[in-house]
Symmetry: C3
Subunit: 307 residues, 3 copies
Amino acid sequence: MRLTKKDLLGIQDLSVDEINLILDTAESFIEVSTREIKKVPTLRGKTIINLFMEPSTRTRTSFEIAGKRLGADTVNISATTSSVVKGETLIDMARNLEAMNPDVIVIRHNASGAPHMLAKLVKQSIINAGDGAHEHPTQALLDMMTIKARKGRIAGLRVAIIGDIAHSRVARSNIYGLTRMGAQVTVAGPATMLPRQIEQMGVTVHQHLEEAIKDVDIIMMLRIQTEREQQNIFPSLREYSRCFCLNRKNIRLAKDDALVMHPGPINRGVEIAPDIADGPASVILEQVTNGVAVRMALLYLLTGGKS
Amino acid sequence: MRLTKKDLLGIQDLSVDEINLILDTAESFIEVSTREIKKVPTLRGKTIINLFMEPSTRTRTSFEIAGKRLGADTVNISATTSSVVKGETLIDMARNLEAMNPDVIVIRHNASGAPHMLAKLVKQSIINAGDGAHEHPTQALLDMMTIKARKGRIAGLRVAIIGDIAHSRVARSNIYGLTRMGAQVTVAGPATMLPRQIEQMGVTVHQHLEEAIKDVDIIMMLRIQTEREQQNIFPSLREYSRCFCLNRKNIRLAKDDALVMHPGPINRGVEIAPDIADGPASVILEQVTNGVAVRMALLYLLTGGKS
Amino acid sequence: MRLTKKDLLGIQDLSVDEINLILDTAESFIEVSTREIKKVPTLRGKTIINLFMEPSTRTRTSFEIAGKRLGADTVNISATTSSVVKGETLIDMARNLEAMNPDVIVIRHNASGAPHMLAKLVKQSIINAGDGAHEHPTQALLDMMTIKARKGRIAGLRVAIIGDIAHSRVARSNIYGLTRMGAQVTVAGPATMLPRQIEQMGVTVHQHLEEAIKDVDIIMMLRIQTEREQQNIFPSLREYSRCFCLNRKNIRLAKDDALVMHPGPINRGVEIAPDIADGPASVILEQVTNGVAVRMALLYLLTGGKS
């Protein structure tokens, strides 16, 4: 089976079959990163551009390692070193990159919809590595891969997503993906961090963490953008932490075998207690490992590979 | 035929035969970037250092892709992340890089003559990727390649170069190259942007765009450094644009089959109207594509390859 | 023979046999960088992460070239472009990188002990590329390699290290290594730049350069951190230079065949006169060349290679 899409722009566009295709392909790539020689020649002679207009370590590194392990050439462009300082528009930059004949352009941008605009403009495959508060589809795919690897399925599971739902592209992509795959999703966060009419996305809403995580299989904690403290979105980190930090006490409300997830980087003691982040329920580092595999799968499938 | 030079420092140093050798070699490399597997092992085991002391996306990316498609190892050094912050001189940095045995050092620097100084100091091949307001030879080579591909020749063509001639390394390199190859070159720009005694470079000078582009085969628009507006070199962007923006009206003065070129990044609506930049006469993106091929050709020829 | 250590954290941890193993292996790699095709497939399919939390050209470039010439995939992460801006701790960053299954993490950090902390946390090999004022073991190894290549031995040589001993990780690593290998080490510098009880490291101390370099085989000049001038550690650069600059006059006090070394980048006219830096006694650029070989040796040995 092949992925017939040119681009990966968001989870919202993906069918159940497409998600399963990506997850199954990713599963088959996990093994490559554990070999003595962690490299296959699958994408030899392909050029992958990582265009990161927002700072990022893990996502850029994950894509770069994924590309290199498939034998592709990877080229990094970051906003700070780029000609964006000369005032070039993203459209013109994209057309220029297109003219250099890459095979895939991975883009992270602080404007929602930037990858979609690019996808229409250029003939190459675009992968959305996070656009504003819109989507972060590779994160949701690696989250779903992690859940499936641990629980054997996604359908029927109860998942709580906790934190700044309104400003989180991770939350949006996961809500799209998890509900489509048949999970029941609950969200909780301070009132100022819950988007209006969020129920229309098919989730149940709670104002308290305790209600949201009751009897769930998966607790997905979101990163608090501590820089927003200034903006009066929430009273203080201390106040936030008092109500929405996952700790050894409130975690007992979830199922005994509940998994704890976080997209990273974590704020220890703000949204998650250190002993929970490092504890037996945490699959945070498995998420990172699976991220490389999911990105390998996408690079492979979007350049014409079949499972 | 081989290129007997150690370095590519400027177009001023190149003979007609050398220019033709580079353009013909570049022509033969165009095809590599359109293959399914865009990679040849020609420069396997060669090390290419891209030393960029000025911000750049397209030129650095173009060189990096060129190197990788030839199988070379590429290493990027940018001013912001380099030990230049420790006050090391360019000379000492160059000698240090030399001691690591690279094969080619590509350098962009805001000081005119920096690549020439390096070329004398180190045994490796130096490629000038733009030095101050002096030369940008790979840009002129890709421009000439684009003209030749479209018009079948350079000799005898009429070319207008419009804009900030005085501060443009692109203009200087193109004037050297185009006149050497037998084209007739006209320049136009505001009086403050025309260098004195420019006629001695073998060009005719006009103060108005309309006079300069009359009956020309090629219109080469230069990028306005909008940051110079502060410096009273020209009254205002608006004023500049009123007199020197290429648009659908004034372009009719050129030949019907005239080509529009621009080194990028473009300031839409300042030096070029959007519909002209994106219109049928524009070969701006072909310039970018040819840039990769020209840089592949230079890396190949300077490391001992023959056509 | 194999290196049984997981990590290279400091010279202090190395036995004479281990130092000899590294130097001999490095010697055998020198030749690779002089070939027409400077590449061997030894580390194909290995992933090396260069995590540089302080600016650096030469060390990062040296490691990157070393990795690429062994056929490894190299990934650069610098503090300025990383998610450290999001407040992630080094511990969490390291665990995340670990989860992507690299083989070696090279780290430079301004905190002493940072590499040691990482080494305990992650299963991969850690190489210390400079930690605060603590150690810079690859520098000391390339220095010892250079001495051995020129003098045929280290034991019994007299070595003077001149400058800011107290704040120099280069000095500390070299003192550990040179004394262990049987050299007699003398240090000199302004009183504010000599650590208390430095004699306990097995060196003799002088307050004047002239006394320290008398009859030595090796003069190792340290870089003055000119940015410290503000901090009243020394009166002025001029004053420092008057007392501690190696020049054509005071160098006569050393042996006739004494070698001049410097870890770079050099401050010409501050700690070393230009004619000495570029003169016949100087092996500064050989140090740089040997640096690539030493780093190749370490990458090779730490990933399981044997000599």
